[in-house]
Subunit: 199 residues, 4 copies
DNA sequence: CATGAATGAGAGTTCATTCAT
DNA sequence: CATGAATGAACTCTCATTCAT
């Protein structure tokens, strides 16, 4: 099925497989997410997955892209709507946590894949790129605020990395406390970071 | 595995195996750290590993414990020596980053294991316990500072989790920038967090 | 597969499939000549091949027959035209080499199939029949020459098999030396065999 | 088992596996010679084969080398003992046919492998090398005879290829006529070729 | 006629584990 | 203590075939 024909049925099957893969990754982890397990979950034979995806790699890539696109589609408008660097930062944190709360399986699946991929040939983790992109985007936001004098003088990459890490940590917390009030958590995070960031 | 024999030789062999496992985990990742690879690395047969450890699980548990104990042994005196909550927090962050810088393989191995272990039977990640302990210890420190009026009124677990996450993020950064000045990074982290934490 | 329909379109499709199969066999070998590869080569779906041929076996049989018929159609008039056993033998060798030179893919495909088919249920190679027929035809020619006194007294089947083998060996040589002068090679072959054959 | 320790047991097992593989190749052909079939034949699990050989490739390479070495060991002394090019040629043909008669399975296995391997990346069959070596060795013998004036003036490579092909053809014949008198056949071959070769 | 979807068997390979020596 | 041998399960992937549309 190399055709991008996007025949309705083919598309639906692929989506179904991606969804099943996400749920498995979230539920049983990377190691237990085999093609057999995926096939069983959708009530089909093993060959179906191989038919719709060139291989496990393509499937996992699809999962990663799917989640990243969803996240970007959710985040972008909320951050861009806000005016001024401080407001954008608030929107960034709040939107992030809201997305985390609403897409737990997706995030767990993403994490499972990214942390389980073997180190690349250069010795660096494969996911370094994805992570670095996210940090870089936030750093740019921070740098903009520094240029306008809204933010203090700090090293943007350090703060960006720390804020992102603090946000990502919520994902794990959600596994333990499913009823967490993510909105309140976002306010607490901002209360923690804003004093050190705002001018 | 008459493990209680604790003969000198047996102890040495176990340590050697644990070290080899740590290096492999750091170098080639969880997936490529097979018993054969470990055996090959120490120039022995596969059976040796199975002989000294009940199974792969016990070996990995040993690796985790080993690293956690080293970290605790390094951290504890530095934090306890400092007097006053703010000083203890500074010591905590600085000692943490110093340890990260000096034990990169250990940390990478630890991360590889903890992020790759499948979710436990209760659906929660196995490493939740270890992580929770670390956060809880820091939260206690923060709570103490709040009791003495040295720290503001925030939710200790939220701040503790965020600080830990910011610290842990440095581990990945070290893979990309091996020459990172961890001491300077620690100062930047404190400059970021202290305004939001100190009373 | 309503194969007796022999509609123009159906006939054309079958021929197209057979041609594609021959090219694949010649280019990538027996093992890589899958139904998918054939379908891809003609820009159609896998089902097409299955529709026009009862199975892979029938397709390969068709390929073999097709090539054998072409060869027979090329050889027969050239040999029959020559008068006298020695002239027929010369025509046989020359026509054979000429055909080899002009139908390399066909020959390679034929060889790929015949050498890759599993031994038949009787333990004998499936292609034994085809090979035996070719040897037998040449042996008959030789026997005729012996009867007329033009050829020496030798065992016809031995000489026939040897001549055929020497001819077939040129097929492999053509893969290595595509510019081989087959006509000159034919003369050398005759110079080698005629002293032992002619009376 | 990468060790060349040549422990008696390991060596025996490897030999046993190679023998089983040869018999399978001879009996059921290349396509049906799977690792499972091999394992079943020696009454062991599939893993055993993988344990003793790095992969199927290494096993098949071993088979090829094993047969080629046996053949060389058989042929070399017989040819070298003969004095004079004509005698060497006679010894070559006779020894070859004798070996063919005594090692049918080996030859069938060798043929199965060499004809079934896919074309190399250069488009040429992998076995071209092995075949070319054999032809080249015989061509050298012929050339020597020409230099001494014992042989006529012909193109050595053409004659060498033809003689080799005539010899190889006997291998197939042996499948059909197991009781063939190879010694008599050798005499007939020599009677066919010598008139065209001897000065 | 043709397609895309699905199946199920079988391939080679890897791995943790067990055990006799 | 240590080894080499063996197992058996699981894995990804490929393929010929079938079938509803």
């Amino acid at each position: 099925m190399r055709s991008e024909s996007s025949s309705f049925l083919g598309r639906a099957r692929r989506d179904q497989i991606v969804r099943a893969t996400i749920e498995l990754l979230a539920d049983v982890g990377y190691g237990a997410t085999s093609l057999s397990a995926i096939a069983e979950k959708i009530g089909a034979s093993k060959g179906v997955v191989s038919y719709h995806f060139a291989g496990k790699d393509e499937l996992l890539t699809q999962v990663v892209n799917s989640v990243l696109q969803d996240a970007a589609a959710f985040m972008a408008p909320r951050v861009q709507t806000a005016s001024g660097a401080p407001a954008k930062l608030r929107a960034y944190v709040q939107a992030n946590l809201q997305f985390l709360g609403e897409h737990r399986d997706d995030i767990r699946a993403l994490t499972a894949i990214l942390t389980s991929l073997p180190p690349g040939s250069d010795g660096l983790p494969v996911y370094a790129a994805a992570g670095r992109d996210a940090v870089e985007a936030l750093a740019t936001l921070l740098r903009t605020g520094q240029d306008t004098g809204e933010f203090r003088d700090f090293t943007p990459s350090v703060v960006a990395r720390s804020v992102r890490a603090a946000i990502d940590a919520v994902s794990e917390l959600l596994n333990v406390e499913p009823d967490l009030d993510v909105s309140a958590y976002a306010r607490e995070l901002l209360a923690l970071f804003e004093p050190g960031v705002l001018a």
